[in-house]
């Protein structure tokens, strides 16, 4: 235990030293979007698929949509998804589309402060320009709520925000989703939903000590889920070994019911209730097809 603590401390020192090199200025970098008019309906659908609503709404306590989420307990500390309503003081009502795009693509606030990767911007950076404009249009329709966002409660050394630019330099790849021409349209739609919008790997891929995804074990399941427990492996092999079919997966994402008659719990229950249960049959089939055949 002491060793682990020392190790962490060492890491923190190295991280801090590196941060001096990488970025001390916290300057917001410009973002260019090739889209100005967003489609509200598409954006709302995408907000469901991407978990914006699930994470930023405290459904259990009857919280207003996007007015701030319930605590998310992780091995790094407790995160609270902030108020994303159009309130100018407490929400993001004074943001521009460019500010919004910068948050999703660079993981930084309008004044250049880095966000914790609990906000899965390393996935959202794969969204298209039009996706971001659509989301922004949908966010405009949500009533403003003047509720202050909660402070993040992280343990040392993760409470040192100046370590975040290092994290971003290591793990944030500012790349859009790319269609694989070798694969079917349905497979590509599934890949886009899984790898960009729905960010399945955020929970189903284990993280290293610094909270970066361990790509060698992509979708292999992970410990330390919010509220305890572990997420199951959802690699194509694991799913097949456990007897899943594409239809079963699509149905589980709609209803929560597994082929065995169990009903999924943990944070997946929230993902289904506030996210995937709203998706079209075609999209659920695409997600399932992609996961069952992912290479």
């Amino acid at each position: 235990m002491k060793k682990a603590l020392l190790y962490l401390l060492g890491l923190a020192v190295i991280a801090l030293a590196l941060c001096w090199y990488i970025d001390l200025s916290h300057q917001a970098r410009p973002v260019q979007l090739d889209a100005d008019t967003g489609n509200v309906e598409r954006g709302a659908y995408l907000a469901r698929a991407s978990g914006c609503i699930a994470c930023h709404t405290n459904v259990d306590e009857g919280g207003a949509p996007l007015a701030g989420g319930p605590p998310i307990d992780t091995p790094f500390g407790t995160f609270y998804a902030p108020n994303l309503t159009m309130d100018k003081e407490q929400g993001i009502g004074d943001w521009t589309l460019e500010d919004f795009a910068r948050a999703l693509r660079h993981g930084t606030s309008p004044d250049g402060q880095p966000y914790y990767p609990a906000f899965p911007y390393s996935f959202y950076t794969r969204l298209s320009d039009q996706d971001i404009a659509d989301l922004w249009a949908a966010f405009q329709t949500v009533p403003a709520v003047a509720e202050p966002s909660k402070q993040q409660e992280l343990s040392f050394p993760f409470n040192i925000r100046s370590g975040l630019p290092l994290w971003q330099a290591l793990y944030l790849d500012d790349q859009r989703f790319e269609v694989d021409p070798q694969q079917s349209e349905q497979y590509n739609r599934g890949a886009y939903l899984v790898e960009a919008a729905a960010h399945c790997a955020a929970c189903h891929t284990p993280r290293d000590l610094l909270g970066g995804l361990d790509q060698k074990q992509a979708m292999a399941g992970a410990e330390g889920m919010p509220g305890g427990g572990r997420s199951p492996a959802i690699t194509a092999n694991a799913l097949k070994e456990n007897g899943w079919t594409t239809d079963d997966l699509a149905y589980a994402l709609r209803s929560g019911i597994t082929p065995e008659g169990d009903v999924l719990g943990g944070s997946m229950a929230e993902v289904i209730r506030d996210g995937t249960s709203f998706l079209t049959d075609d999209d659920l089939q695409a997600i399932a097809l992609y996961l069952m055949n992912r290479e």
């Binding site: 509200v40 309906e41 709302a44 659908y45 907000a47 469901r48 609503i53 709404t57 459904v59 009857g62 919280g63 207003a64 949509p65 996007l66 949908a138 329709t141 949500v142 889920m225 509220g227 305890g228 427990g229 572990r230 997420s231 199951p232 239809d247 149905y251 709609r254 209803s255 929560g256 019911i257 082929p259 065995e260 008659g261 169990d262 009903v263 999924l264 719990g265 943990g266 944070s267 997946m268 229950a269 929230e270 289904i272 209730r273 506030d274 249960s277 709203f278 998706l279 079209t280 049959d281």
Partner: protein
């Protein structure tokens, strides 16, 4: 040589035995009793889910049977199996059951009412829309909660009640069950 063989055999036996126990989660006592109840519900769900999903022909008799099984182990039949602090013994339960006992009880009672109503509604079918009809503008797409049911349970279709049964399983598992695999 003989000694080695004996040792190997003993080890193999021990491994087989322990994996056998593990296969049942190693549960004992009241924890085992409540886990068995959960398994009964799982089987009951497995028998009818494919019907509501349209994968198997609908069988009202089976729906009544499954609903009766769930009803019989829901409500106090379930909560009685969770005396305060009954952790360990292979349980997947989370300690917050006892911190949020009222919630646990009300979810368990919901399950009892919904499964009872499901049995009574077994002949009443309805084509439930696969996804919410409208996306925006006072609709549920950007909003938080599902629309509350304002009809009495006795008027709801089997399809709707099956979803309510499922959702109460899910609510309870989300709060009170720890997923370990």
């Amino acid at each position: 040589m003989k000694m080695l063989l004996l040792k190997s055999a003993l080890i193999a036996g021990a491994v087989a035995l322990s994996s056998n126990v593990l296969a049942h989660g190693g549960a004992t006592g009241i924890v085992k009793e409540r886990m068995d109840q959960m398994v009964d519900m799982k089987h009951a769900m497995k028998a009818v889910a494919p019907m509501f999903r349209g994968k198997l022909p609908y069988d009202a008799e089976q729906v009544r049977k499954s609903a009766a099984i769930i009803e019989s182990v829901a409500g106090s039949a379930m909560t009685d199996k969770f005396p305060e602090g009954s952790m360990g013994h292979g349980t997947d339960a989370k300690v917050n059951i006892w911190q949020e006992w009222d919630k646990f009880q009300s979810l368990s009672d919901d399950l009892k009412r919904y499964s009872k109503a499901l049995g009574e509604a077994s002949e009443r079918r309805e084509k439930v829309a696969a996804k919410p009809a409208s996306m925006m503008g006072g609709s549920s797409m950007m909003g938080a909660a599902k629309p509350a049911v304002d009809q009495p349970l006795s008027e709801l279709s089997a399809d709707r009640l099956f979803k309510m049964v499922t959702d109460s399983c899910s609510s309870c598992h989300r709060r009170f069950r720890e997923d370990k695999k």
